[in-house]
Symmetry: C2
Subunit: 249 residues, 2 copies
């Protein structure tokens, strides 16, 4: 892991760009003498790690007291896209404009994207946990399909905050029952592209003993800011357990 730039932000958070082989990423860490828990943060459907909404969530979560890392996995964000992916994305745009069903197209785009992303996130996790000041257990926040795959395959993930506003491939819907870590699932009640019932069914399917759904009025990008704060406290409860009194979770 090689740091290529660093910037101290006005809330005391240190933002560092890194590369790990071909993988570009960003790590935000709070000012803290003691090691802080790590939260991996990914945007639904592989949107760029530099997206202002993701950056704002990451900064706030770091200022709250967690280390936060994100990467552009293969085919995501700034990374080169295969000709096949470009073709599927063009077909997706066309179908959306035409108001045609898009599930099958999403399946062929997002399914492989998740499969390719998982090993890169795990490699990144290995490298991050070797850094001084980064503790475990590890939380995950954001892209639901990737979160399901990681929660099932990566035992270091101890809690996950999932945004139920993105296409979840069949494989991940099928393995939702195998997810057992505590979950905080965010739903936008009127998310244009993501049927409400599908989000509620997914929440119902998760095998976790401790799972909470937060639904807010409004469309896909309307999640209120206080949900980032609630997410910080969710990770406090599950990633800092020994230092906190029992909360009933």
């Amino acid at each position: 892991m090689r740091f290529t730039s660093e910037q101290r932000l006005d809330d005391g958070v240190l933002a560092r760009e890194f590369t790990l082989g071909e993988i570009p990423g960003t790590l935000w860490t709070p000012e803290s003498a003691a090691p802080v828990p790590l939260v991996l943060m990914a945007h639904n459907n592989g949107l760029p790690r530099r997206d202002p909404r993701l950056v704002a969530r990451a900064r706030h979560t770091a200022a709250h007291g967690h280390a936060v890392a994100t990467i552009d996995a293969a085919g995501c964000g700034d990374r080169p896209r295969s000709a096949a992916d470009e073709e599927i994305r063009a077909e997706l745009r066309r179908a959306m404009r035409a108001g045609e069903p898009v599930d099958a197209i999403f399946e062929s785009l997002i399914g492989p994207l998740v499969e390719r992303a998982v090993p890169e996130w795990r490699t990144t996790l290995d490298a991050l946990l070797a850094l001084p000041g980064i503790g475990s257990p590890v939380g995950y926040s954001g892209w639901t399909a990737l979160g399901i795959r990681l929660a099932v395959s990566e035992p270091r993930i101890a809690a996950a905050g999932l945004f139920a506003g993105g296409y979840v491939p069949r494989a991940q819907r099928a393995e939702a029952r195998q997810v057992t870590v505590p979950l905080l699932v965010l739903v936008q009640w009127d998310d244009e592209g993501n049927p409400r019932q599908r989000a509620l069914d997914l929440f119902d399917a998760f095998g976790s003993e401790h799972k909470t759904l937060h639904a807010n009025l409004g469309g896909h990008t309307g999640t209120p800011w206080f949900e980032v704060e609630d997410g910080g406290r969710f990770f406090d409860r599950h990633l800092r357990r020994p230092a906190h009194e029992a909360t009933g979770t």
Copy 2:
């Protein structure tokens, strides 16, 4: 309003019993030099104000920094029950034991209970707001049917936290669309006596521009403790607005 006893609790909260005419109540106030917002707290279906779960919620909410008041309204808690109410309650117990439908029985019990409770809560609110150290705007927490009726009829209610685990009479279901204050609605995902879809439909029906649903796994009495803390912050956002930065709500 006559205070009949007072006790300083170990978290600094002052708990005072009061009577207001025939109405018995309890007021919990935090140690605070400045006036604090008031939260009216009622148990679903008129359960007693001395119920340990309600008392625990009230104490915690007061320690968080709000004044909290509850009463036993007519026919609720310690108050005498009419022969007619006793008959309906006996019929309800019989029907529940027999596994028969109970909606019609609940309607005939809860509908009038809400109608009789509302003027007593409003009288109590008048008396509480005349006390030193109790500020407005006012929040409401708990019994959903009463909360709907108060939110629609009492303009001093500025925000409401509703527990969607109780029978909501037809009249209150019908006026849910008229509720416009910010809402935090709690649902227990596997509440034995309260169908999930009915709770989701009620959440959907509310007219409020800002409404949030929190659903947790488990049965009727399984609401996790952290929801009391989330409730405290919800009231902070809506009852202390001038002192807080905008949060997106």
